[in-house]
Structure formats: C-alpha cells, structure tokens
C-alpha cells in the first residue's frame, strides 16, 4: 500500500458542518452509515454547475447544454472508474441503491423470475434488499430463502450450496449496516454462479469505505448510493454486466429512455440511458463525481486503514469502559469488519441512550436500522449504532464513551 496515511485534521477542515455546535457542544457526527456529511468540493461542484453550466442534458445543442451534458457524463465516467467498472456505459444512474435494486427486481426480475423460482437473501439485509423481492414473491410466487448468521455475526456459509440449489438469484450486501460485518463477496458470487444463479451485491455500506472493483468481485449486479459516500442525496448507481443490461426491459418509461415513440409503441434508447427515464438528478450526479474524486484523492487504502484503526480503538474503548454492561452486536475484532458498531446497554433502551448522548453533541442512531429481520434474529427490538468515517478521529470515540457514561449514570436504577 503506497497511500499516505489519512490526515484527518485536513479532512475535517473540508467539511463545513463539522464547525457547528449543537446544544453548546462540538458536533460529533457518528451516523455516517445512515448518511455521510459533504465536503466543500462536492458542494462547490454542484454550485458551480448551477451557476455556470446548468441546462438539461442530452437535449439542447447550445453551449451550456453541451457543458451540462459533459459534466453529467463525465461524472458517470468518474463513478464508473471509482467502482472498477470497465466502461461508463455499464453504469446506470439511479436515485439511490433502493432504486437500483428495485430496477433489477422489476426489470430483470419480471423478465426472468416465474412461479416457484428461488431468490436467496441473507439474514443481514437492509429492507432495500428484501422488500423488492417480497413484492415479486407476492406477485409472482417466487420463493425466498435466507442465509443465516453464525454466532460471531457473520454469514453462515456452511449450507450455502444447499440454499443456492436451484436458485436464480443470490442478492446480498457487501457490508452490514448494523453489524459492521464485511462479507466475502467474491466467494458468495462464485457460489451463486456455481449454482447457476446470478449475484446481486448491495454495496451501499461498502463503496464509501473500501476500494471496490466490480470485476474482481465477479458479481452480476452491484448497487451503490451516493449520499453515504460523501455525495448528495438522490443519486446512486447500478452496475450490471453489459449483456444483462442489453437484454433487460426498461424499468420506468418516459423521456430520455427512448429512441423513438409513435402511437403504436416505442423503441428503447441504448444502455445506460434506457434505464434513465425523465430528467435525472444532474447536479447530484456531478456532486457524486466530485465525491469519488475526493475519496480517490484521499486514497481508499488510506481510508480503510484509518477506519480499521479507529474501529479497533473504539471496540477497545467501549469494552474497557463498560465491560459486560454493554453488548456489542457484531464482530469483536477488526478482521473483515467495517467501522459500524451496534450496541445495547443492559436495561437501557436504545432511544434513551441516543437522546442523552445527543445532549453531548454526539449523533448516533437508535432503532431497527431498516433491518427488522436481522433484529428478530438478534432478539432485540432496536440497537444504538455508532458509525465512523473519514472525518472521525479518536477524540470522537472518546466523546462517545463519555456521553455513554453520562447516559448510563442518568438511567441508573
């Protein structure tokens, strides 16, 4: 690894929101797994487009329309390159990863899944990778199977071949938004292919934190969401193998996605535009392009090292301070683990914890994290979740630990 270590102080200076205070305290933002903050570079890229080059894309022949189109397609090329996508034409912009997965379910799913067909999911999926398949199950009578978890919060792959037997699709996340677990995507994709199934990867919690190369993973569909990776809201992306994109029917119908329309019907546009119906979030795409440039400049290896170090520090600090009173739901070491830590205090509800730590300027999430099947497996109604990113440092962990200690005192029986 050649990358220089992350200079966190410099990174922090790039995020204007980190300068503000809440409840008279320094803002300690530990909810990046929900949505990340935005660096100045992203804000400026969007602002610049609106001030200097804004017009609709792919329509006008005038100068600023050409500039806007170049900015939008340039963003596609940068995001594609960031994800290891061989050609920008293989990358479809969506609103978010939820839409990316729904696109696959509605387009590929409708064309390929029939009554009795099997889709395999895992017990650690976000609702975004569950409900689209429930909808198809209700509509088409497909069968859903679930890969269970091991005691140490990893996917239990010991019966994977049996679960995948006869399956058409294996849809799983690369990283859990609750447990922090990083899955072995290449292994899971290989297992899917060995069973004759396609592999869909929800990379929402992976792309912001680790170098991602879709060709190394060898999956068939990969979805990401911009707002978790320093980009704006309402922009995400779906990569799919070009031969799949070519044969998949359109998802939404409207402008831009057509080549020709008559009273009798329509001919779809080429990929990726076939899947980009209506006016797209142009400035947001440009913002996401700036976000991946920013991450690229930091170096994803440096990002990963920083987060792993910080996770190790946080796991140790929580354990040292609270011992058995605090239960951590997720791997206890940094091996194949991201910087998302879910926990519960004995006898104190997750909401009460997050309410009290908010008073200390510390933003953590409490709830089911849109992963209710996982919550049922864990046997808890909710957890408190702290998640770290490029702009967090050890002082943020210390602030969390102090705020948690205050919360524990507050609710002491």
């Amino acid at each position: 690894m050649s990358a220089a270590p992350l200079d966190v102080a410099r990174v922090q200076a790039d995020f204007p929101i980190l300068k503000r205070q809440v409840h008279g305290q320094r803002l300690v933002y530990l909810d990046s797994a929900s949505s990340s903050q935005k660096p100045t570079a992203v804000l400026e890229a969007m602002d610049h487009l609106y001030r200097e080059s804004y017009a609709n894309v792919h329509r006008g022949v005038y100068a600023i329309a050409e500039e806007a189109t170049a900015a939008y397609e340039g963003a596609r090329a940068r995001v594609a390159s960031f994800l290891g996508v061989p050609s920008p034409s293989e990358l479809v912009f969506t609103r978010n990863v939820t839409e990316a997965i729904n696109l696959v379910a509605q387009s590929w799913g409708h064309a390929n899944l029939h009554e009795g067909d099997v889709v395999v999911l895992t017990d650690l999926e976000h609702h975004a990778n569950i409900v689209p398949w429930h909808i198809l199950a209700a509509e088409r009578g497909i069968e859903l199977r679930w890969v269970p978890l091991t005691e140490d919060y990893r996917l239990d792959v010991s019966h994977l071949d049996a679960l995948l037997d006869g399956a058409k699709l294996f849809a799983f996340s690369a990283a859990s938004n609750v447990l922090g677990t990083l899955n072995d995507v290449a292994l899971l994709a290989d297992a899917a292919h060995a069973a004759g199934a396609l592999a869909l990867v929800d990379a929402a919690q992976f792309a912001p934190h680790r170098r991602l190369d879709v060709t190394e993973w060898g999956a068939d569909f990969v979805g990401v969401t911009g707002h978790k990776m320093l980009g704006p809201t309402a922009i995400g992306a779906l990569w799919a193998r070009p031969e799949l994109l070519d044969t998949m029917p359109p998802f939404l119908g409207g402008g831009e996605m057509i080549r020709d329309v008559s009273r009798d019907g329509f001919t779809p546009n080429e990929v990726p535009w076939k899947f980009e119906a209506g006016t797209m979030p142009i400035a947001e795409a440009v913002g996401l392009g700036a976000a991946v440039d920013y991450l690229e400049a930091l170096g994803m290896d440096a990002v990963a090292t920083h987060e792993t170090d910080l996770t190790a520090y946080a796991l140790r600090a929580l354990e040292d301070r609270f011992g058995d009173r605090l239960a951590i739901y997720g791997p206890r070491t940094t091996e194949r683990r991201g910087a998302t830590i879910s926990f519960l205090f004995e006898g104190i509800h997750a909401h009460d914890i997050s309410q009290v730590v908010d008073e200390h300027g510390v933003c953590v999430r409490a709830g089911h994290h849109c992963a209710k099947p996982l919550m049922r497996v864990l046997g808890v109604p909710a957890t408190t979740r702290a998640s770290f990113y490029v702009y967090n440092d050890e002082s943020d962990v210390d602030a969390l630990v102090e705020a948690l200690a205050a919360a524990e005192r507050f609710f002491a029986i």
Binding site: H23, H349, A350, H351, D352, Q355, V356, E359, A366, G367, H368, M375, V380, P381, A382, F410, F411, I413
Partner: protein, 161 residues
C-alpha cells in the same frame, strides 16, 4: 431550547424505574390488548378488568424506552377505577396534551389541584408534557393510550353518548 430535564422529569424516571401495575390478569374475564410502535420496536400488553362500566383493574407488560414505559405506568395508575367514559375522556385529554404547547395548560403546576386541560385534572401525567418538545418521542408517550383506547373498543364497551 428543550433540554433533557424537560423530557426526563424526575417523576417519569420514577415510573420508569418502578413501574406501577406490572403483571397479568387472568384472561378472561380480563381483556388483553397489545400495542406496538413499529418505528422503535416498543411493545406493550394491557390487561383490562372491566366490570359494570368501570375499569376495575389494569396490569401492564411489554418493553420499550423510558418514555413509553413511564407513560404506560402512569396511564395504568390514572385509569384504574375510572368509569369507561371517564377513561375515554382522559385518553382524549392526554392526546390533546401531546399536541399543544405548555402555555395552554391551565393552573399552577405545583398548585393544590395541579394543571388541568379541558377541565380534566392531569396529575402526574402533566410531567409528560415535555415530550411535545421532542416530536419523535411523542409516539412513545401515546402508545399506551392508543392501546388502551383499542382495548376499550375491543372489550365492546359502548362509546360515550
């Protein structure tokens, strides 16, 4: 700005730490009803012993945050012994409390009679008024009351005229 002490008044923490009327009643004759807050996973179970138009006894179970637990405890203490119509009136009053600003409360907080709303004496319940300043927690406070309302409906008790 709303501070923690607005939300977690001492009396709320007291009900949370030492919930009143925890337990079960034999079903039947008691009526059992469950309430669920899908947003945060709070769940409560109420056992209502309703006889001759009077809520003779209430027992509660379930789990949740301090606000939902304290509200459940306070509700159980407040409705025990009330006539159905009085319980329904109290439900309406409590829901009104969860949607108004403090200034609309009539009467001194620590006066002899305590604060009233629409002529209904609030007693301990007034302590939950601070929840209004934390909008996401209002659902926690109203869970017990919505569940009580459902229980009264299900128990087939007539609506007040």
């Amino acid at each position: 700005m709303a501070g923690l002490e607005d939300l977690y008044r001492e009396i709320i923490l007291d009900h949370y730490r030492a919930p009143r009327n925890r337990g079960e009643l034999p079903v039947p004759p008691a009526h059992q009803v469950e309430g669920y807050n899908p947003l945060c996973g709070d769940e409560i179970v109420l056992y209502l012993d309703i006889d001759d138009g009077v809520v003779r006894d209430v027992r509660t179970g379930g789990q949740g945050c301090s606000i939902s637990q304290a509200s459940t405890s306070m509700m159980s203490a407040a409705v025990k012994g009330l006539r159905i119509e009085e319980a329904r009136q109290l439900i309406r009053t409590f829901k009104a409390l969860m949607s108004i600003h403090e200034s609309k409360l009539e009467g001194e907080t620590d006066g002899e009679d305590g604060a009233t709303l629409d002529g209904v004496r609030l007693g301990d319940l007034e302590a939950l008024q601070g929840v209004v300043k934390f909008p996401v927690r209002i659902k926690c406070a109203t869970l017990a009351w919505n569940t009580l309302e459902q229980g009264l409906d299900e128990a087939g008790q007539p609506q007040p005229a």
